[in-house]
Each structure stands twice: as structure tokens, then as C-alpha cells.
């Protein structure tokens, strides 16, 4: 049972406890796909979509598991269902937009093993959200992820033209920027409280 209002859930998932900048979920795509803005925003969209789908899946699975009293199957069933969902999304994108599929390339399969997706499913279960709350939570988390990714991509595109010191290049500078962004997002603390 959780009676948090929807807008609190949304703000919490997207800004206050941003999945990437506060929970460190989805760091791999955050570091990997944030080099180019166009790719980043598409990845964000894909993740948001997968999150909503996973959230619905997780809600259903949880209800079933509660009914048959088998909580120990939670992790396995979440993983299995989410993985197959992503597979479907992948096929869908491949069919609908080959260019998008090409742009995301190796990252789509990575969404399967993206901790942000599984994390979302686990968190919503832990927090005891109902169906609507879960979906709002998923949308918030997805948009928050996209926001972090897109902000990062904008900065990294500019840094690509900068003369970075040798030792800083690559992941190190991305992490430092993420740290500063994370500090910036602390400004949202307490929102929706």
C-alpha cells in the first residue's frame, strides 16, 4: 500500500532521485551512448518505452507471484519477461526504422541487461505502487534517464571540440561531468515533499 500522490512519484523518479544521477542505474548506456545528441535522445526514448512496458510486466508478474506465494521467483521472472519484451521492441524497431536500429546498434540488446529497467521493476514492487502509480513511476524514471542522458550528450558534444588534457579523456571526464550534474540535481531535493 502506498498512497503517494502521482506528481510526487513523478518528480521523485525523474528529478529528485534521478535514476542515473542519484541511483546510478543505467550508467552503462549513460556513459556509452552520450557522445552524440541524436543517438542519446533516441536511446532515452527507447529506454523510456521499455521502462513503461517492463513496469506493466512487473506489476502483472508481482500480482501472480503474490497469488501463488512464490516471491523467490521474482528476480528470474522479471528478468525473463523483460528480456523477451526488449527482444520484441528490438524486432519492432528493426522493422519500423532501420536507421534508428542502426543508430542504436549494439545498445538495444544492452537494454536487456540495463540495470535501470530491472531496478525500476524492483523499486516499484518494493514501494508497493499500484498500476497507475507504477506507470507514472516508469514514465518519470524514463524521462529522468533521458534528461540526464541528453544533458550529458550536449556537454560531451561540446567537449569533443575542446582541448581536454590527456589524462582526462574518455570515461573519466564523463564521470566528472556526471558528478557535477548530480550536484546540480541535488537542487531538486525536497521537491514534491
Amino acid at each position: 500500500m502506498n498512497e503517494e500522490p502521482l506528481w510526487t512519484i513523478f518528480l521523485n523518479a525523474s528529478l529528485v532521485n534521478n535514476f542515473v544521477l542519484a541511483y546510478f542505474l543505467g550508467i552503462c548506456p549513460f556513459l556509452g551512448v552520450s557522445g552524440k545528441l541524436a543517438t542519446a535522445s533516441r536511446m532515452g526514448g527507447a529506454v523510456t518505452f521499455v521502462m513503461v512496458v517492463s513496469s506493466l510486466c512487473a506489476y502483472g508478474i508481482h500480482a501472480v507471484l503474490m497469488a501463488i506465494d512464490a516471491p523467490y521467483l521474482q528476480l528470474i521472472s522479471y528478468i525473463a519477461v523483460i528480456a523477451s519484451t526488449v527482444q520484441l521492441v528490438e524486432m519492432f524497431i528493426k522493422k519500423v526504422s532501420p536507421t534508428l536500429f542502426k543508430a542504436l546498434g549494439i545498445f538495444l540488446p544492452l537494454i536487456t541487461t540495463n540495470c535501470a529497467i530491472l531496478g525500476l521493476a524492483l523499486f516499484q514492487t518494493n514501494k508497493g505502487y499500484n498500476l497507475i502509480q507504477s506507470v507514472v513511476y516508469a514514465v518519470g524514471a524514463g524521462l529522468g534517464f533521458t534528461l540526464a542522458l541528453v544533458l550529458m550528450a550536449g556537454i560531451r558534444e561540446n567537449l569533443a571540440l575542446a582541448k581536454l588534457p590527456d589524462v582526462v579523456k574518455g570515461t573519466a571526464v564523463a564521470l566528472m561531468v556526471a558528478g557535477i550534474l548530480s550536484v546540480g540535481f541535488m537542487g531538486f531535493a525536497g521537491l514534491g515533499g
Binding site: M1, E4, T8, N17, A22, Y72, A189, G190, G192, G193
Partner: protein
């Protein structure tokens, strides 16, 4: 190319997946069954520790579920809001431990507070879960000055028994002048206020109800 040839047979794929599934299932279920009693004992002990902490005089505890017309000793899985009765060694009622939750600085804070029927006051508070800023907001759990607020936090009901006379409220550090006020922690005003807010809300809902059905807790055995 051996693997490819092998994989061409759907039978082999099913055999492999089912085989792995069975092994994994066995593993999980056995671990789950093996650890279940220990985990439950751990959880019960942790809860009891928390109850005894907020009701210092209590030596035993019982779990009650709220119903529309009072409180029932909990049997089986929890269905609604729970409160916990704390009893002295001789079985006399010491007070109730009531959970509360609310949005803090970073995420939901969950607390448990002890209510004494005798003192009409909150006599203890522990933080069950918080992600408040370490070293600052998380002092709500540890700061002795803040914890001192809960030695006797007045929540006595108004004459008609509908709500506490004075709502619990946080005030700036060092300016507490009434027994229903919370002396905030310097630098952690948000977290202090969050605790005050969830206590205010929880006491307004629960204190009138538990006072009304005080008898339900007096003789839990009789409720059976």
C-alpha cells in the same frame, strides 16, 4: 560449427532450457526454504527491537491489524495497517508502537513511534528507513537532542476525542517552548520538519482511534 548444428534441433534447445530451469528452480527453492526461518526470525527480532526501543518499558509485543471497528490481534498475513502493542513482563499494556511514513528531503522516511496511553504522549521514535543526507538529515535517527523530543511529546486529545489538542510542529533549534513542539536539528530543518509532519498526520489519524478502542489492546487474548 558443432554448436550451430546442435542448435538446429528444437528438441535440444528445450531439453537444455528445461534442464537448466529445473536445476535453477531446485537451487532457489532450497535456498529459500533453508533461509526462510532464519530471515523471519531476523525480521521479527528487528521489529521487536524497534518496538522495545520506542516503548522502553515493554518486554513483549503483539501485532494488531486495524479494522473498521477496532483492532484485532493479527493472525496470518497482514492485510491492512498494523500497530504493535507493547506489554510489560506481567502482561500489562505499556503502549502502542505505530508506524508512520512521509516524504523527506530525498525519499520516503519510515518511522515507528511509541504512544503511551498513560502519558497521552509519544515516548519514543526510531527511524526504520531513510535516505536522508548522511551526516545531516540522517541525524533524525541519532541526534540525542532530537531524540530527546520524544521522551514525552504531548499529543493529548481534545475533549471530544477527535484530534490532538495541539498538532505536532517543528520549531527552529533551541526555541522549543511547549511539550508538543519538536526542536529541529541545526542544518537539517527539512528532515526535522518531515518527521514532525508525518507525526502530525499519523497522530491525528491514529491517536483518536486507538484511544477509542483502547480495550482491544488490554486483553488481546480475549479478542480471539
Amino acid at each position: 560449427m558443432d554448436a550451430v548444428a546442435k542448435g538446429d534441433s528444437p528438441l535440444e534447445m528445450y531439453r537444455a532450457l528445461v534442464g537448466i530451469g529445473v536445476v535453477c528452480g531446485l537451487l532457489i527453492v532450497s535456498v529459500f526454504q533453508g533461509t526462510k526461518p532464519i530471515i523471519e526470525a531476523n525480521k521479527a527480532a528487528a521489529l521487536e527491537r524497534a518496538i522495545f526501543q520506542v516503548l522502553p518499558a515493554a518486554k513483549q509485543s503483539k501485532t494488531f491489524a486495524a479494522t473498521d471497528d477496532g483492532f484485532k490481534l493479527l493472525e496470518g498475513p497482514a492485510t491492512g495497517p498494523l500497530v504493535f502493542g507493547g506489554y510489560a513482563e506481567d502482561g500489562s499494556l505499556v503502549g502502542l508502537a505505530i508506524p508512520a511514513a512521509g516524504m523527506g528531503y530525498a525519499d520516503t522516511i519510515r518511522i515507528l513511534y511509541g504512544y503511551s496511553f498513560e502519558a497521552h504522549a509519544i515516548v519514543g521514535m526510531v527511524v526504520l528507513e531513510s535516505k536522508e543526507t548522511p551526516g545531516l538529515g540522517d541525524k533524525i535517527a541519532s541526534d540525542p537532542g532530537f531524540q530527546a523530543n520524544f521522551e514525552a511529546l504531548d499529543v493529548s486529545l481534545s475533549a471530544d476525542g477527535s484530534a490532538p489538542v495541539h498538532a505536532v510542529a517543528a520549531v527552529k533549534h533551541g526555541t522549543k517552548s511547549n511539550p508538543w513542539q519538536l526542536d529541529s536539528i541545526t542544518g537539517a530543518t527539512i528532515s526535522s520538519k518531515a518527521v514532525a509532519a508525518m507525526l502530525r498526520e499519523s497522530t491525528t489519524t491514529w491517536i483518536p482511534k486507538v484511544e477509542k478502542h483502547k480495550a482491544d489492546f488490554m486483553n488481546p487474548g480475549g479478542a480471539k
